[in-house]
Amino acid sequence: MASPQNLKYDADQHLWVDIDGDTATIGITDFAQSQLGDLLYVELPDEDDDFERGDEFSVVESGKKANGLEAPFGFTIVAANDVLDDEPEAINEDAFENWIVRVKITDEDGIDDLVDAAAYDAACQA
């Protein structure tokens, strides 16, 4: 699946980021879910948890891999997608629809390192 044009991407962490002013919505990409296989568990942070760039804010686990997700920039959790508690496989069905966290951006350092869809898809092909 080609990555949506309207999102930004963290090519190292395989995250998509939808920035809207000082808030953002974050999930893992379709490429990431295809590499992990069927997800069995998504560990979600609590509301108001603070994360600095590089901190692990969630873990996505499949039958063969536990993959930590590191914050691409500093943020505070506004909401975590509770649907994933019962249905982690929702990410396998549509990774771009089923977000993991909504955040308030607290430190923009790192946002400039995000890439567009074309660059991300090219990085996955390499």
Binding site: E43, E61, G63, K64, G68
Partner: protein, 465 residues
């Protein structure tokens, strides 16, 4: 040197009865020497009395608690679980006392004279021991110094042994503290921190370097951090403690990042230094390095030909099993006049957290810094039927090879990592290739399959990945 039926019997004095010293003494006795072992405290040293063994006894208790708390996952219900902390400490002491007796029995069996007291080296041939009954002179042909190490506590921490403590005091608390600040996220900090958190303490670990377990692989450190956070342990890295204030209620630590942490207790676990205080080694002409450690060559001999030094007082890894190896080697060289060298190519190191951490040889980042090209293979325990059946799926085996596939290092985080490391240590020591290790039939179902799969993964041939 006295003679026995025309054979010369060598006299050896070993100072310090930790795992380095007592093993050196027994080895020297087995090689035929007449051995005097001097110890001011209890045989077994830090390892048995204030280190490896007591903490493992504690972890035995927290494993038991963990098992009952998660019994429901296995279809077993347990009610009214409670912790009897003094009973945990009592069990620890019983285990320790039993092992101390065991060592004393071994010393007796090998005809070793144990002198209880503080040694002072008068000359390369003479040691004076201050015993309860007064000074005793011990003359010997050769000497092995094995006095070990003590916790490092800079003055700024205001160490008082009650509110600001070290690993020496933490093991005999009669209750788990309500809250504790642990300064130093190394082996001791992580092991004790996790144990106390399971016992109900609110734990904050402050580590000055950028990761907990600074000597371990970065991925391994991250996985352990994930587990500590799941257990609600607060971990602050990349920040040093700038000031400590002891109050009536507890301890306050001001951090370099401007924040501060308060708790009932503070454990300072930032490292250990060579313990050579008032030993008099300089009177015998023994030289030390700029960090106060005794200079030795790979045969463990000092600059004074009849004096050897081993364990935490020399510039090699501060690990019980390294001290033991050095002790036995020194004994062999001293008694048999050999020049056997200790190989440090494959030194296993373990951290008894849950999941356990174990590593040997070179790390990926060390290889990169040294300009060594590497290949890696990894395998996660969750891919094994055995790990799933045990309910212990967190963790990974990572194997590092050189371009010729020779295994030069490995890191394991996961169930029984310390046991699994033995095979990898042998592989590094013997210079096996990933293919040779992977080609060995591994038992199924067992956790060791993760080692086999990681070896195969070095060349992209892991079946279950």
């Amino acid at each position: 040197m006295r003679t026995f039926f025309g054979e010369k019997i060598m006299n050896i004095t070993v100072i310090g009865a930790g795992p380095g010293g007592y093993e050196a003494a027994i080895a020297a006795a087995k090689y035929g020497a007449d051995v005097t072992l001097v110890e001011k405290d209890e045989v077994g040293g830090t390892c048995l009395n204030r280190g490896c063994i007591p903490t493992k006894a504690f972890l035995g208790a927290s494993d038991a608690l963990d098992a009952v708390e998660h019994a429901k996952d296995f279809g077993i219900s347990v009610e009214n679980v409670s912790v009897d902390y003094p009973a945990i400490v009592a069990r620890k002491n019983k285990i320790k006392d039993g092992l101390v007796k065991g060592i004393k029995f071994l010393l007796d069996q090998n005809g070793i004279r144990l002198v209880k007291g503080t040694a002072f080296i008068e000359s390369p041939q003479l040691v004076t021991v201050q015993t309860e009954e007064g000074p005793v002179n011990v003359e010997s042909d050769k000497m092995i110094i094995a006095t070990g190490s003590v916790p490092v506590v800079p003055k700024m921490f205001k160490y008082d042994g009650t509110k600001v403590i070290t690993s020496d005091e933490i093991l005999d608390l009669q209750e788990a503290p309500k809250s504790i600040i642990i300064v130093g996220g190394g082996v001791i900090g992580c092991e004790i921190g996790q144990f106390l958190a399971k016992m109900g303490s609110k734990v904050t670990i402050v580590e000055a370097l950028k990761q907990i377990l600074p000597n371990e692989d970065a991925d391994v450190s991250k996985q352990l951090l994930r587990q500590l956070k799941r257990e609600k342990i607060k971990v602050i890295t990349g920040t040093a403690v700038s000031e400590v204030t002891v109050t009536d209620d507890g301890v306050k630590a001001d951090l370099a990042n401007g924040k501060s942490v308060e708790a009932d207790l503070m454990l300072v676990s930032i490292g250990r230094r060579a313990y050579l205080d008032r030993l008099g080694y300089e009177k015998a002409g023994v030289e030390t390095d700029d960090k106060g450690r005794i200079n030795v060559d790979e045969t463990m001999v000092t600059n004074v030909p009849n004096i050897y030094a081993i364990g935490d007082i020399v510039a090699t890894p501060q690990l019980a099993h390294v001290a033991s190896k050095e002790g036995v080697t020194a004994a062999q060289n001293a008694v048999k006049g050999m020049d056997k060298k200790v190989s440090y190519k494959a030194v296993p190191a373990c951290v008894f957290t849950d999941p356990e951490v174990a590593a040997v040889g070179i790390r990926e980042d060390q290889a990169a810094a040294a300009g060594i090209e590497t290949k890696t293979g990894t395998f996660e325990f969750r891919g094994l039927g055995k790990a799933q059946a045990m309910g212990k799926i967190q963790g990974t085996v990572k194997i590092i090879t050189d371009p010729d596939n020779v295994i030069i290092g490995a890191s394991v985080i996961g169930p029984h990592a310390s046991d699994l490391l033995a095979e990898l240590t042998m592989a590094v020591e013997l210079g096996l290739t990933a293919e040779q290790l992977g080609d060995v039939i591994h038992p199924h179902p067992s956790l060791s399959e993760a080692v086999m799969e990681a070896a195969h993964d070095v060349h992209g041939m892991s079946i279950h990945k």
